[in-house]
């Protein structure tokens, strides 16, 4: 850590840990309900659990991205954040909006729009919150002339993410129009601008952890985010196959979404090659694990498992089944969950001054969570494929098929338990690091930048 104000990031990461744990809890409620145990139905019906599970995911990831930005931007811009007080205000208001939304979900106060269940009045508060965040980031970025490619790509991702929230706030009478623009938010976030954020954070971590020349890393960063938009923008078409939209989306969506794994393949090759290029080993091996892990698991989960059901002829049968949950879990975990955990693992020793780099607990956290998530994905795959054949191809009744699938959810719960143990170990490590301190400034082990941005 070089600047005092970077410490703000710690509290955003702490909020991540709290919300992530809560998200997992709601995941268990849903998994048990799918397995036939819905004892909590009267208090937390399934639709409340799922809205909470999905929105907590969005909020903790956003909190992680924001924390990452507050850590990275001052360092890349070589200046203190313009206002630490406002950053804390932004954090608190983010947490308050999140808590109010979640309580609302349990009181039937929401909108039935997947991933965007937060009701419109609260949307305005989200907008104010994000504007404050963007002001702090942009004002810091433009305070000096040190604008690196990494910080610009990261900021561009954050600005676009904020802009793309807006189409989701328009009211439409038509379900098709509503869905059409909801995908402008959800798809263009996760398969578009969030990948910019991912690319930016990944580039930063690789510069710090491998010591490879910034110019080389940033050149490939451009290529990767270029591939992301080349495939991802028109790839939105894979959500426009069967919602009352014209047939040409079947072809356009099919072709371009089949190209989407290229960006993730690029990301994986990029990370692995930079790692191999680096002659020296950074002592923070756990951060390197998470950094390589996010790139590789994102390719598997978002790239390959997305490709598995993205072609229209396949999607006609898999659309709206548990196959989507299979892809969704490994994709979000690999691309964004692990990315935030990578950033946390890299920055914690630098903010707290404690060099718990290569500890066993951290290593177990990495492997147990990943093995658990791969197991969960496999359980979702088994149940999803069975559902497709029994319900969609053979025409069996929905609930008749669901009864057959219950057994897969026992496996899912077992794997989720493994995943949770991993995450608990990660959080226990997070706590062990203690609070951030000014004394940590300048104590981190850094590779000398070979060239400046």
């Amino acid at each position: 850590m070089t600047y005092k104000s970077q410490k703000v990031a710690y509290w955003f990461f702490a909020l991540c840990m709290l919300l992530f744990l809560l998200q997992i809890t709601y995941g268990f409620i849903m998994a048990f309900a799918h397995a036939g145990f819905d004892g909590l139905h009267d208090f937390i019906p399934f639709n409340a659990a799922t809205a909470t599970h999905k929105n907590l995911l969005v909020v903790w990831l956003l909190s992680g991205f924001m924390g990452a930005a507050y850590y990275i931007i001052p360092e890349e811009s070589k200046t203190e954040l313009v206002s630490v007080k406002l950053a804390y205000l932004q954090l608190i208001s983010l947490a308050v909006v999140g808590v109010v939304a979640i309580i609302g979900f349990h009181l039937n106060y929401w909108e039935g729009r997947k991933f965007l269940e937060i009701p419109r009045p609260l949307d305005y508060l989200v907008v104010i919150n994000v504007l404050l965040f963007l002001y702090l980031i942009l004002a810091t970025l433009f305070k000096t002339k040190n604008r690196t490619t990494t910080s610009m790509v990261l900021t561009m991702g954050l600005v676009f993410a904020a802009l793309l929230y807006l189409p989701g706030m328009i009211w439409f009478d038509s379900q098709t129009m509503d869905s059409f623009f909801r995908w402008w938010v959800v798809h263009l976030w996760v398969e578009g601008v969030w990948e910019l954020i991912m690319g930016g954070i990944l580039a930063y971590l690789l510069i710090k952890l491998t010591g490879v020349d910034r110019e080389v890393i940033e050149k490939w960063l451009y290529v990767i985010v270029g591939l992301t938009f080349l495939s991802g923008i028109l790839g939105t078409g894979h959500h426009f196959y069967y919602i009352g939209t014209p047939k040409y989306w079947l072809m356009i969506g099919g072709i371009f979404s089949a190209l989407e794994p290229l960006a993730f393949l690029g990301m994986a090759l990029f990370a692995v090659n930079m790692y191999r290029k680096s002659g020296r080993t950074h002592p923070n091996k756990l951060a390197m694990n998470w950094t390589l892990g996010t790139a590789i698991v994102a390719f598997a989960g978002a790239g390959l498992l997305g490709l598995a059901h993205t072609l229209p002829s396949v999607n006609l049968y898999t659309h709206g089944t548990l196959v989507t949950a299979m892809h969704g879990h490994l994709a979000f975990w690999g691309a964004y969950g692990m990315l935030v955990l990578a950033m946390i693992t890299y920055s914690l020793p630098n903010m707290t001054g404690r060099k718990l780099y290569d500890n066993t607990k951290g290593l177990y956290a990495f492997w147990l969570s990943n093995i658990g998530m791969v197991g969960m994905t496999t359980a979702f795959a088994a149940s999803g494929v069975a559902q497709v054949y029994l319900e969609r191809r053979m025409g069996l009744d929905f609930m008749e098929v669901q009864k057959e699938l219950e057994v897969h959810f026992y496996v899912l719960i077992a794997c989720a338990a493994l995943f949770t143990i991993g995450i608990l170990m990660f959080i226990s490590n997070f706590i062990a690091y203690g609070r951030p301190t000014d004394e940590a400034i300048g104590t981190e082990i850094e590779f000398e930048a070979l060239t400046s941005g």
Binding site: P45, K114, M399
Partner: protein, 141 residues
């Protein structure tokens, strides 16, 4: 070998070009094709009221419609065709928790008027041209 400048041009150029194509296609879809495929002329006030109820109770938190939502309860796109309007209205108005094969639905206890609006909405969605979704089962038992 590719320079950083060329890489940046690839990124910025590609983004602008593909975003413009996306905007053009989106405009074409929403201005001419979607109204026709969704029979927008049949989008009555009752349908809109039904959509609001469907939304504000987060029905897609368990069900899917047009294949979108959660995977806990049945697909609703063709539910009126499949089960009939009378059956759907009973499910919507009952004050006892509906639990086919043990999986519970929240007992919303909608009024008859509200149930009419929701079925109007479901009927409207059921009549859309969804490019063949939901597909007919292909394997004969």
């Amino acid at each position: 070998m590719l320079s950083k400048k060329q890489a940046r041009a690839f990124f910025l150029g590609g983004t602008v070009v593909f975003f413009l194509i996306f905007l053009g296609l989106s405009w074409h879809s929403i201005s001419t094709e979607i109204p026709e495929q969704t029979n927008e002329e049949n989008l009555t006030d009752a349908v809109v009221r039904g959509k609001k109820l469907f939304d504000s109770n987060n029905c897609v938190g368990c069900h899917t419609i047009m294949g979108e939502g959660a995977y806990y309860a049945p697909e609703l796109t063709k539910v009126i065709d499949r089960k009939g309007e009378a059956y759907v209205k009973v499910v919507l108005t009952t004050k006892e928790p509906w639990a086919p094969r043990g999986r519970k639905m929240v007992a919303y206890g909608f009024t008859d008027e509200e149930a009419n609006d929701i079925t109007a909405f479901l009927t409207w969605v059921g009549n859309m041209d969804l490019n063949g979704f939901p597909a007919e089962p292909t394997i004969k038992r």
